[in-house]
Structure formats: structure tokens, C-alpha cells
Symmetry: C2
Subunit: 248 residues, 2 copies
């Protein structure tokens, strides 16, 4: 039953210091926006950063970055192209823009394939845009990449948070590391999510207000950094960067 | 390989006139809100309506309805309880409020089980809250229930629509019937989504403006009908009702 590619996966990731999975139990919370902006912010802060789009329900970071025309190079594996200063890889290069109704086992298989063939350089951070929910791909990633750290995104909606809560409970059962939770698209001053997050034993990383400029920045890559999402993630990311730099 | 339960499924659904799958390629577009409000609206219009929550990524209609305390009865199958005038069934009764990381095959299995044991009464409409995306559950439902009709929900966001577009392409390939598309949480007067919908050959059913009252109505069932979502779905649903009534 052992797939020889699985043993290759951790070798492929060995030159990456931290692997951050931007994730949400719920879709539509702005997860891909946050993942892209986080990667761009870390890169602007002087880090070497990769962005890996593994959202099997519909990869979209290539649309956000406006990176439709780049292609990875094949050279004893796949070398990610550079987009806006990021080493960028997406499963859209495999499944294309066509509908991709992958069944559970196909998802696992595509995931193993992508992880085992992609040749990342030396990176301070690899930011992964995860599929929403707690399906096959999430379970597999936690299994394959032991040192993965989750960065959870929710909106202020009770429905979103209820679903995110379930995801957090599952990740805790699996002994997965969670950096904390970001509250995206906030429209009021309430602290319901902040209180509920702390009650879960999680770090509340901060709120990002709803900003219509985010939608306008789609396809313009770094322009995302001049929106609320870029501004607030900057403050959150500074902690990562300083933590990273103070390491020996 | 034939599962004897599959042949039971269509028998179970035989007393239902129309089966409407409220669905979105993308999560977080308000699909569950729309499904719940559509069911409530049709019921208020005098129809006999069932609401079936099959969102495996996180069932939430019981939270919207505030129906946490009801339970289905077991009596040669499962009899859905009545909630706000709806025959109501949710997979939350099976998987509970705990994290449920179902793998692909488990999803198919749970789906077959639920469809084959639930004893619906004579209904004009069964509204299904579908899981987002085009994963196992969606493929299975299309396979098991040939006469299922899709009611697609998107938001005005380009990212949401891009994902929804893929879903529509897939449904067309599978020869599935699509009633049309609703644009939810609209914040401006643009017609980008309307134009793009028509370009796909789909009927644009209308827009529902963003309304903060929707969040406040969570847990209060019929109060949803006094929000924008209730008001606009009323107009859309009237077409269903009149079509239904004019049938012999």
C-alpha cells in the first residue's frame, strides 16, 4: 500500500523553514485573498516565500495574482515560476480551468503527485491555500506534512464560525499546530468572534475590515497590499517575520 | 457492486413533485440561507415543502431555523420532524455537531443511507441544501436522482462566479436540469453577473441585496422571510408556485 512518492514529499520540502496552511472550515470567507496577501506581505518584508494553491474546490490565487499566463518549468520535477516575487505553484496547471470533479481518491492522488514533483527553492515560508472544510485533502496534508501550521480564516458570521469551530476541534484531535485565527470582512465593532476564539484556546490574530477595494484588486497582484487585507495582514505578518529573524 | 438501497431511493421520492437542489460551486455565498428561505417562502405560498440538509461540509440549516432540539422519528425508516411548517431533515441528526471528516466513499455511503431511509410525505417541493463544489456528494445526487433541478447561488464576486461557472459547465455535461442563477449579497447596481449568466445560457433569476438583518435572523426561522433574502425569493418563488398550480 505504501506509495513511494510519499517518502519523497518531506525531502521536497526540506529547504523550507515554515509551512503555513491558510485554511477555513467554511468556503467564501476570503481564504484565498488572505493566503495571497499573506504571501505577498511576507515577501515584501524580505522573506523568501512560496505560494502553493491546493484548493481542489476551485483554485483561484492565479486569478487574484493575474498570473494566468505563467507556466511551471519541467526539469527533474516541476519548477514553480516566479510571480510578484513569489515562487508560485497551483494545481490549476494540472487540472486547468475546466470543471474538475475529483473523487476522494483522485484528490489524494493529485495531492501526492503535486507535493512529490514540485521543486521548491530555499524558502522562509511556504504559504498553502487549502481547500475549505475538513475533507480528504486537508486530512492528507496533515498526514503527509507533520510540521504544517494552520492559519485559520473566518468571517464574523455565526454560520461561518460554527463550521470553523468544528474544523479547529478536528485539527486539535489530530494534534496539528494552529497559529491562530483571523476575522475577515468585519463590518462592525463586535467582539463575538474574538471571545469565541479565545474560548477555543486559540490566538485571535486580529480583524480585517470589509473593503470593496479588495474585489477591485483581483488580477492586479501586489495591488492587494494597498487594501485593508494587505494593511492588516502586514501587522499580523510582522510577528512571523520578527520571530523568524530572531531564530539562530 | 449494486447497492440494494439505491433502488429504494427513487421509491422514497416518488410522492414529491419537484426536487430542487440549491447549490453553489463556491462556499460562503449564502446557499443555506437561500435554501432555507426558499423552502419557507414556498410553504407560505401554500405548498407542501420539505427541506433536506445534505451539506456534508457543515450542515447549518438547523442553526438558521433554530431547530436544534427537534429529532426525526424512527418508524420503518426515518420520519422528518415538522419545523416552521417544513418537513425537515438534516444529516446533522446523523453526524451530530462534532467534526465529521468524511472521506469520499463515506460521503457516498452516508448519502445513500439518508436518501433510502427518509420517509417524506406527499410534497410539492423538496428543497435540498447541497454541499458546495462539485465533489462526491454532488456527483452522487445527480446520479441517484435523475429529475433533480439545480438552483444556483453566487455572489457578485468574480472569484465566486468563476467557480460557479465551472460547476455549471459540469452540470451541463451531465445533462442536469438547471432552473437558473440567483445573485446573492449584491452591494452595487452592476450587471456583470447578469450578463455572464446569460452568456452561459442560464436564466438569471434575480439579485438579492446584501442585508445585515439576515445575520440577525439566524436561529429565528420564519424571521428570515422579513429580510431582503425573504422578500426577493418571494418574487422568484412565485414563478415556481404558479407554474406548479397551473399543472394539471
Amino acid at each position: 500500500m505504501a506509495d513511494p512518492r510519499i517518502s519523497v514529499i518531506n525531502e521536497r520540502l526540506i529547504r523550507i523553514t515554515r509551512i503555513i496552511a491558510v485554511s477555513s472550515g467554511k468556503g467564501g470567507v476570503g481564504k484565498s485573498m488572505v493566503a495571497t496577501a499573506l504571501a505577498l506581505t511576507l515577501a515584501r518584508g524580505g522573506c523568501r516565500v512560496g505560494l502553493f494553491d491546493l484548493d481542489f474546490t476551485g483554485p483561484s490565487t492565479h486569478i487574484i495574482l493575474g498570473a494566468k499566463k505563467v507556466q511551471p518549468k519541467e526539469e527533474r520535477g516541476i519548477i514553480p515560476p516566479t510571480v510578484d516575487g513569489l515562487e508560485y505553484m497551483s494545481l490549476v496547471y494540472y487540472i486547468g480551468d475546466k470543471p474538475a470533479p475529483l473523487r476522494g481518491l483522485d484528490v489524494s492522488n493529485a495531492l501526492i503527485e503535486l507535493l512529490s514533483v514540485t521543486q521548491w527553492g530555499t524558502l522562509d515560508f511556504l504559504v498553502i491555500d487549502m481547500p475549505p472544510g475538513i475533507g480528504d485533502a486537508v486530512l492528507d496534508l496533515v498526514r503527509f506534512i507533520k510540521r504544517i501550521e494552520f492559519f485559520i480564516v473566518t468571517t464574523p458570521s455565526v454560520l461561518a464560525f460554527e463550521t470553523v469551530k468544528k474544523q479547529v476541534e478536528l485539527l486539535c484531535e489530530l494534534n496539528t499546530s494552529i497559529i491562530g485565527l483571523v476575522e475577515n470582512m468585519k463590518m462592525d465593532k463586535g467582539n463575538v468572534i474574538e471571545v469565541a476564539t479565545k474560548k477555543l484556546g486559540l490566538r485571535y490574530l486580529g480583524a480585517i475590515p470589509f473593503d470593496p477595494k479588495v474585489e477591485e484588486a483581483i488580477g492586479k497582484g501586489k495591488q492587494l497590499l494597498s487594501t485593508a487585507i494587505g494593511f492588516d495582514l502586514q501587522k499580523i505578518a510582522e510577528r512571523f517575520i520578527s520571530k523568524q529573524k530572531s531564530d539562530p
